[in-house]
């Protein structure tokens, strides 16, 4: 197996009173796609920023291959309207060659935006342009925070396909945050299911049957999404029941850690859920 | 009032040094005369300190030119009873004023708050005005210390006599010499010039706050190059860098004139010494 591009060890992050990350481990190898999944506020963006060195974790250590070239696509971008900059010029900040820029824009399907002001393009267009910028760095490691957020349905599949292609062509590692489990699962080598701590991790097929995963997302969502049904109560019943029922069918899965962590995770969940139940149940009734 | 007790001398507070010099001559030993603003401090950014305010509050009499000169005093002094303030250049009778004679304004010269048309507040530079200032101070001192009225009248008389002699001497000297054209940096010598029948040939700017325009400077530089100006009066408070550009390469007499009497030592006959020095410097340059 190839060398580590990047290794994060026991990363913890605390904001004020709130623990956002707790002893998270993460390893990315060349040519490997690692996907972070997890509910909103799980700390995915925080972990990504720590890995990139943009924020200093409260505890833990990050080891990068020296001279690692990273292509990064942030979750949000806000450019001041007083700065006149076209999409093309924006990309030239990452790479001087115009040919390469056109190529990258073509790859993400936004060639026609080359001379548009960066501030005027639509939300989904911006996502594509950001991906183009990450590609231009000819990265050894591609870090993408919800790359297809706001991208139209045709573009989503295109972009995921593109990421797959890039991985194959350049043998670059990919760290990706995503909510689109169904689209992502097929291509990912390792899924890390995050909820402050690492709930479970491993190969998608294994993870999708992991009880910790099921507890977090409900069994239904791990299956085809075409079947649309949501049963709120059922989902949370699993929370409590499934924890002791840890079978050994996920080879990469660290039992002891997950046991501990998962207890914590389930505690968090039921916390939120209790709050919700204590309030007037105007909306809650709609769920059944 | 504590001033009523003869043991304690009443305090006078002059806003600027020339006024202090005059007041010292009139008051003699009967009163203390303090100075509010050191002669080298620009009144533009000046903000009163608490100690200044204490001195204002404790002074029996505050002597100042008026709001067109020491604007930062206008507000604090308006809060004092008028009996304790001597305003030399009053601006209360204002507005529909017509400056009947811009330069020859007399004691109650008309002013307007919003429009200092040609008002040159440097009134102490004219011996005639100084004489009038001295009178006013004597009058107020006499009201303040009725018992010492004779002393003040005597001091006033000797002040007048000394000044008259000096004035006559200067008049004569100025008449005798045919003053060559000279230039001033700002139009602050009007009262002196008026009194001695002089007129500057050129001025850099109306006041230090008003920057001259390029048109004016161009004309000025032509004038200087043609050699029609013999002398330039400089000031310690106002040293415009512009002057360097205008006078570069020209052989011009330059004379330092301090209208604020910065270099005059305190003591007897201060004002006369100031005027004598002022006149001498003027003459040495324009002769």
């Amino acid at each position: 197996m190839s060398e580590y591009l990047l290794q994060a060890k026991q990363i913890s992050m605390v904001y004020g009173q709130q623990t956002v990350l707790q002893a998270v481990d993460l390893t990315i190898r060349a040519g490997e796609i690692v996907t972070l999944i997890g509910p909103n506020g799980a700390g995915k963006t925080t972990l990504v920023k720590a890995v990139l060195g943009l924020i200093e974790p409260s505890l833990g250590q990050i080891i990068r291959q020296p001279g690692l070239r990273i292509g990064y696509m942030p979750q949000r971008l806000h450019v001041d309207p007083s700065l006149p900059i076209t999409v093309g010029r924006f990309l030239r900040l990452a790479h001087p060659s115009k040919a390469a820029i056109k190529e990258a824009l073509a790859e993400v399907g936004t060639s026609h935006l080359l001379n548009n002001p960066l501030q005027s393009i639509s939300g989904g267009e911006l996502q594509r342009v950001l991906l183009a910028r990450a590609l231009l760095r000819d990265p050894q490691l591609l870090v993408l925070d919800e790359p297809v957020q706001g991208v139209d349905i045709a573009g989503q599949t295109e972009l995921y396909q593109l990421i797959e292609t890039l991985r194959e062509r350049h043998q670059c590692g990919v760290l990706m945050v995503s909510h689109d489990l169904h689209l992502v699962m097929a291509q990912t080598d390792t899924v890390i299911c995050l909820n402050q701590h690492v709930c479970c991790h491993g190969h998608p097929e294994h993870v999708s049957t992991d009880p910790a995963y099921l507890a977090l997302f409900g069994e239904k969502y791990s299956q085809a999404l075409a079947v649309y049904h949501h049963d709120h109560d059922h989902e949370h019943d699993i929370h409590g029941d499934v924890i002791p029922d840890e079978s050994g069918n996920s080879p990469n899965h660290d039992h002891s850690q997950c046991g501990h962590n998962h207890h914590h995770g389930s505690h968090q969940h039921s916390n939120k859920h209790n709050e919700q139940k204590q309030d007037e149940q105007k909306g809650g009734q709609g769920h059944a | 009032s504590p001033a009523a007790q003869p043991a304690i001398k009443p305090k006078l507070l002059a806003s600027i040094k020339p006024l202090q010099l005059i007041a010292l001559d009139i008051a003699g030993d009967a009163a203390e005369v303090e100075l509010l603003l050191a002669p080298n401090v620009s009144p533009h950014l000046y903000q009163l300190k608490p100690s200044d305010r204490q001195r204002l509050a404790h002074a029996e009499l505050v002597i100042w030119v008026g709001p067109s000169m020491e604007r930062f005093l206008a507000k604090p002094l308006s809060l004092l009873p008028s009996a304790r303030v001597l305003t030399l250049l009053n601006e209360s009778e204002l507005d529909a004023e017509q400056d009947e004679d811009e330069h020859g304004h007399e004691r109650n010269s008309s002013h307007s708050e919003h429009n200092h048309h040609g008002q040159d507040p440097h009134i102490w530079l004219s011996p005639a005005q100084a004489q009038h200032i001295a009178q006013q101070i004597a009058q107020r001192l006499s009201t303040l210390l009725p018992a010492q009225r004779p002393t003040f009248e005597q001091n006033l008389q000797s002040f007048t006599a000394r000044l008259a002699a000096l004035d006559a001497q200067l008049q004569q000297q100025f008449k005798a010499l045919k003053a060559k054209p000279y230039m001033v940096l700002h139009d602050g010598y009007g009262h002196f010039e008026q009194h001695y029948g002089l007129r500057h040939a050129a001025v850099l700017s109306l006041s230090p706050d008003k920057k001259p325009g390029a048109k004016h400077l161009w004309a000025l530089s032509e004038q200087l190059k043609q050699g029609s100006i013999a002398c330039i009066f400089k000031e310690p408070q106002y040293q415009p860098a512009l002057l360097r550009n205008l006078t570069q390469g020209l052989a011009l007499k330059q004379q330092l004139l301090d209208p604020m009497a910065g270099h005059i030592t305190l003591g007897a006959h201060g004002y006369s010494r100031f005027m004598a020095d002022f006149g001498r410097r003027f003459i040495s340059c324009v002769q």
Binding site: - | R71, E113, H114, H116, K210, G213
Partner: protein, 266 residues
């Protein structure tokens, strides 16, 4: 304690009390430059009053209010950040003022003098003026607090929810302009602009709600006025700058306290 201290202290406290909430809006809406811009436009006001022979105080107020209206109009096209707009208005009005003065023949005028009031020269009558204006502003603020907050957070949401965004923004600008225009002459331009920004900025780190920020800003502002006057008395320094220095000191202490607090939590 002499009268002038009491008068100055009262005026300072009143202004700090109203500058706290208004200053919070100044900080939130990135209008820190507004105070200085108003001071410069006041200069233009002086120059124009001289030219047109109208009352100077009136000229200053008209110019300040006019500037506020102009700013609201210019902010509609949001291509320029408000600080750039303010920079242009500030330099523009200052330069126009200077040129106007130069064009009026034969005016002798110390422009600075018109702008620098002095806290220790406040008269009884000034106090009534300041008090009246502060009361009017406080009432307007009180009645529009939620709406003003809503347009600060997100103007588009506020507009969809039926608030008259443009009118509210204008109200806010006019309130700030009025306060600065009145206070400038009485307590000095340095002091009023500083009292708008520094207490609000210093309180940011300790608060979690807009109301807390306004209240803390009031407290810090009043503390600065009292402390600064004490400083001025003991060191014999001018009152206005001393208050500002004291406020800066509080700001620094606040920063240090915050750092210390958060390191203790860890």
């Amino acid at each position: 304690m002499p009268d002038f201290l009491w008068l100055g202290l009262s005026a300072g406290l009143i202004i700090a009390a109203i500058a706290g909430p208004l200053g919070s809006f100044v900080v939130w809406q990135r209008l820190a430059y507004f105070g200085d811009t108003l001071a410069h436009s006041a200069l233009l006001g002086v120059a124009l009053s001289l030219w047109l022979s109208i009352n100077i105080q009136l000229g200053i107020i008209i110019c300040c209010l006019g500037l506020a209206v102009l700013l609201v109009v210019l902010q509609r096209k949001p291509q320029l950040a408000s600080d750039s707009l303010l920079g242009i208005l500030s330099h523009g009005s200052l330069a126009l003022g200077l040129v106007t003065i130069a064009l009026i023949d034969d005016v002798r005028l110390d422009l600075n003098a018109y702008l620098f009031g002095d806290l220790l020269a406040v008269s009884q009558q000034d106090l009534y003026w300041i008090g009246g204006v502060a009361l009017a502003l406080a009432l307007t603020l009180w009645r529009n607090w939620n709406s003003l907050l809503a347009i600060t957070v997100h103007p588009e949401l506020a507009q969809v929810e039926g608030l008259p965004v443009e009118r509210l923004r204008l109200t806010l600008m006019l309130m700030i302009a009025l306060l600065v225009a009145i206070a400038m002459k009485i307590i000095g331009v340095l002091l009023i602009t500083a009292l708008l920004i520094i207490p609000a900025a210093a309180s940011r780190k300790f608060v979690t709600s807009p109301e807390q920020m306004a209240a803390t800003a009031i407290a810090i502002g009043c503390g600065s006025v009292a402390g600064g006057l004490g400083l001025s008395l003991s060191l014999d320094t001018p009152a206005g700058p001393s208050i500002v220095v004291f406020a800066i000191g509080l700001f620094l202490v606040a920063g240090l306290a915050n750092t210390a607090l958060s390191s203790v939590k860890k």
